[in-house]
């Protein structure tokens, strides 16, 4: 196992992520064995930070039970999964539970719903908290019934004695019953007797979504609510020179024009009309000078200054390589592309600001908004209300800030801010452009003797960051400066996420060239650096396998010791029908890829079959077969859904997507100019094979498929055409040019 070189200064600098990453040490250390010094016993998951059980569970005297999670439902099915976990551990009927998600007034602070941490952190906390709560209920019942606790069992929200006497949970609780700290020795239920966890329980949020029920923040309607639209500048840094707000305010239905420096918004009774009038009336002075979109390689590796960190070193001079190859891989800026543009509702009343928002982090966004408004954080409440899929840091946090700023100008009125499509595309913080350079050599034994990997990238998160990370705050009259970018510390990493290979190489050297300057607005996008790093590593593994004359799957197994990694590789290959010496039919190719997300979350291997039209260069995914190991599976249906989705989304990124810009502004501002995958590119089949590990810790799975899907596609295209493409996206034109060359 390749542990990173940890730079203490960087560790301390990334506070939010630090806490979260330490809480994983349990899972991480388990894999390390004796290699790492075991830390002092920590509480499982987010219990470490929020140890009181009543932060997670509330049992009322009438028997109703509420589960609290600081994480947000993003469409991954977590509400359902956590409900399953709690139902299982508490021994209560699934449908009897209520789950409350991220709300700064009601739930624990679990930072961001990000990094595939939710089940690992929140799910684990709920699992142990519920198990302990059950133990406490049994202990209380034992006291009252005057029997030994071991003679009691629980069923259907009641404790039952061997003689049949029964005490419901509601009868057992008293005030503050659960205001006890978590006990690290709590033993959760034996997976062998699971009834609910591990079952494909239907998601609790889907019925409303397929019948037009209230489901999203976009559906929120409060009495006397007004509609606001923000007029964003035409480019980064543009200054609002002139706007005839008075004239616009005279238009029928317009309630107010809000201007604060370069922040401009119109509030109207009805949604549709006022926006265009205001946009036309505003005059801007533009200053932005953006880099050349077609020369990101030079931008990243030469123009922008880098902070260079060696993050992995291993040396064995006795192993010498004979044949060497090198390659450079590039990734453009890519967009979250949320289907529903960001939206928020805010109300400022009696000195308190309430914001309904689909931010991934209600606590950090609250802190930033409070800072922006110069008010104490306690006077601001953020309630997570579902939006469309965000896949990371999209416009949600900004829309919340917009709504708060406008609501402050209209005390009492609920203000709804809806971003337009062009605004979501033009102003969201993108996934950063990246460059990787790889060089490796094969030894006489056909194995990799020497491995060199270097990655150039911005940070992959501009949060937490305070008000300076919010567009509204950056544009105000008294603006907040964008805070300096910092790299996310390893083992999670940002641009260097998954830069350290899971394979074992006798000589290896991994460099992270961190680029603090961000000419284009960026932040976290699903997978962070792992998408491109895994794309690079796994493409290069195929190039090396080719050099060694080896089958790609066998070649990977030759270098991988991790038994669970080997298992997913073998499973995917077997289910695909992969065998050494295989030959794809005319115009088709087979490709394989594997990664363990962050080298400590879920394992995923994907085998793909691709068809390439030699005349047009068009590549289409025919079928994909994935194997995934997420530790203890909570909801297999939800997990399958996430992996299928990751494959489809990553295919879209990999074959089509790049943010476009000219020297002044972003030009990919709608689905015409930023096309994504449609039904004509959907494969014939996607299979997901889950390797369940009952009793093992949960491993984050929401992002594990992105990197392997990309590399698997690229390898299949190389197999089909005989040409290796290394610059994302692998467009039709690039494939055609490669074939024609």
């Amino acid at each position: 196992m390749n542990g990173p070189i940890v730079d203490r200064r960087r560790l301390l600098a990334g506070s939010g992520a630090l806490v979260v990453s330490f809480s994983l040490t349990g899972a991480f250390a388990e894999e390390q064995g004796a290699a790492a010094a075991p830390p002092a016993p920590k509480l499982p998951g987010s219990l470490e930070k929020s140890p009181y059980l009543d932060s997670w569970i509330r049992i009322d005297a009438d028997g109703s039970i509420t589960i609290f999670t600081g994480k947000a439902e993003l469409g991954q099915g977590f509400k359902t999964a956590f409900q399953q976990i709690a139902a299982e551990q508490l021994d209560v009927p699934f449908a009897s539970l209520k789950v409350v998600t991220a709300d700064t007034k009601l739930t624990a602070n679990e930072g961001y719903t990000a990094g595939s941490h939710s089940t690992q952190d929140s799910g684990t906390a709920i699992q142990y908290a519920a198990a302990q709560a059950r133990a406490l209920l049994i202990a209380e019942a034992a006291k009252r019934l005057d029997v030994a606790p071991e003679s009691l069992h629980t069923e259907n929200a009641a404790v039952i004695a061997s003689d049949g006497r029964r005490l419901s949970y509601g009868e057992l609780v008293a005030a503050d019953f659960l205001h006890v700290e978590a006990d690290a020795d709590t033993k959760p239920k034996d997976p062998a007797i699971f009834k609910v966890m591990g079952q494909p329980i239907p998601r609790v949020d889907i019925p409303a979504k397929v019948t037009g029920g209230m489901a999203y923040v976009q559906d929120l309607r409060l009495p006397d609510m007004v509609h606001a639209r923000v007029v964003r500048p035409p480019s980064y840094g543009a200054q609002l020179a002139d706007v005839d707000a008075a004239a616009i305010e005279k238009l029928p239905g317009v309630v107010k024009v809000v201007r604060d420096g370069n922040f401009l918004a119109v509030v109207a009774k009805k949604e549709f009309k006022a926006m265009r009038a205001l946009a036309a009336a505003a005059k801007w002075n533009e200053t932005a000078k953006l880099p050349k979109q077609d020369d990101l390689l030079a931008l990243l590796t030469t123009t922008l200054k880098s902070q260079d960190h060696a993050i992995f070193e291993r040396s064995d001079p006795s192993v010498i390589g004979q044949k060497t190859i090198e390659a450079t891989y590039t990734r453009p800026y890519q967009s979250h592309g949320s289907i529903g543009p960001s939206c928020a509702v805010a109300q400022f009343a009696d000195g308190a600001m309430t914001v309904w928002t689909h931010t991934q982090g209600v606590y950090p966004d609250r802190a930033a908004i409070a800072e922006m408004l110069h008010v104490p954080p306690a006077s601001v409440r953020l309630i997570h209300t579902e939006g469309s899929g965000c896949y990371g840091h999209n416009g949600a946090d900004d829309a919340a800030a917009d709504a708060a700023l406008i609501a402050r100008a209209l005390p009492g009125a609920p203000v709804r801010v809806q971003w337009m499509r062009e605004q979501e595309h033009g102003w969201e913080p993108y996934g950063p452009a990246m460059v990787t350079k790889l060089k490796a050599s094969i030894g006489a034994d056909g194995k990799i003797a020497d491995w060199n990997f270097a990655v150039w990238s911005n940070t992959h998160s501009m949060r937490p960051g305070g008000a300076g990370c919010l567009l509204a705050a950056q544009h105000m009259e008294k603006p907040f400066a964008v805070p300096p970018a910092k790299p996310l510390p390893l083992p999670e990493g940002g641009g260097d996420r998954n830069a350290i290979p899971l394979y074992t190489f006798p000589n290896a050297h991994v460099m992270h060239h961190f680029l603090p300057d961000m000419p284009i607005r960026i932040s976290a996008m699903r997978g962070l650096g792992a998408y491109h790093n895994v794309f690079s590593i796994e493409s290069f593994m195929d190039e090396l396998a080719d050099l060694a004359g080896a089958d790609p799957v066998e070649f990977r197994l030759k270098h991988l010791g991790d038994p669970r990694g080997r298992d997913v590789i073998e499973k995917a290959a077997e289910q695909f029908g992969w065998h050494s010496g295989q030959q794809a039919p005319q115009d088709r190719g087979y490709g394989f890829a594997f990664a363990r997300y962050k080298n400590l979350a879920a394992y995923c291997a994907i085998a793909s079959e691709v068809e390439v039209n030699r005349e047009t260069g068009r590549a289409r995914l025919v079928r994909a077969v994935a194997a995934v190991d997420s530790g203890q599976v909570v909801n297999p249906n939800g997990l399958t859904n996430q992996i299928e989705g990751a494959i489809m989304q990553s295919s879209s990124w990999t074959l089509y997507e790049r943010v476009s810009f000219d020297e002044h502004r972003i030009t990919s501002i709608d689905w015409q100019t930023y096309p994504i995958l449609r039904f004509d590119a959907v494969p014939e089949k996607i299979e997901v094979h889950i390797i369940n590990r009952p009793g093992k810790p949960f491993l984050g799975s929401g992002e594990t498929g992105q990197g392997p899907a990309a590399a698997s596609l690229a390898n299949a295209i190389a197999n089909a055409t005989g040409k290796r493409l290394r610059d994302l996206p692998l467009t039709r034109k690039r494939i055609k040019d490669a074939i024609d060359a």
Partner: protein, 165 residues
């Protein structure tokens, strides 16, 4: 003022005739299913059915709807009494974030109303205007096939249904 027939009911709408149907449905009639995704006719999240045909409500001014029947997802069924297509999507768990799903279902419903046994290719071609960013496409296809099955079985008389099982 104009009269709009939505889900079998007549409504008096106080909206300018050039207001896109989407805003009338959401803001005036408080219906949730049709969604704002782009307002440009590029993504399909706003799809509803007008006189049996799938229509992008974000680029359809209410003026065009005089005398026509508008059907939204709410008009097909409820959580307790779901229509075949709603049942199918629940059974297949065909949603991740779910934002695109209402539009998908309406377009699929319009297809099934005129072609009760669509092939996989026909379904894919039909759903081309609708975007899904989460990548739920495989499940959506399965759900539409399932809906066709459910509609077919529902149309059979009980005796035939038993024989079909």
């Amino acid at each position: 003022m104009m009269t709009l027939k939505v889900n079998g009911q007549e409504h008096q709408i106080d909206a300018e005739p050039d207001t896109p149907l989407l805003y009338v449905l959401r803001d005036d009639l408080k219906l949730n299913a049709a969604k704002y995704g782009c307002g440009l006719g590029q993504c399909g999240s706003c799809t509803v059915i007008v006189d049996g045909k799938a229509v992008l409500s974000c680029v359809t001014p209410v003026l065009l709807l005089e005398g026509k029947q508008v059907t939204t997802l709410e008009g097909l069924g409820t959580a307790s009494a779901p229509a075949p297509i709603q049942r199918a999507f629940m059974e297949e768990q065909a949603a991740q974030c779910g934002y695109c799903i209402a539009g998908m279902m309406m377009r699929a419903q319009a297809l099934l109303q005129r072609n009760a046994k669509p092939t996989d290719e026909q379904i894919r071609a039909e759903l081309e205007p609708n975007l899904c960013r989460c990548g739920t496409h495989m499940r959506i296809l399965r759900a539409v096939h399932r809906a066709a099955q459910l509609m077919d079985t529902a149309a059979l008389a009980p005796a035939e249904q038993r024989r079909a099982q």
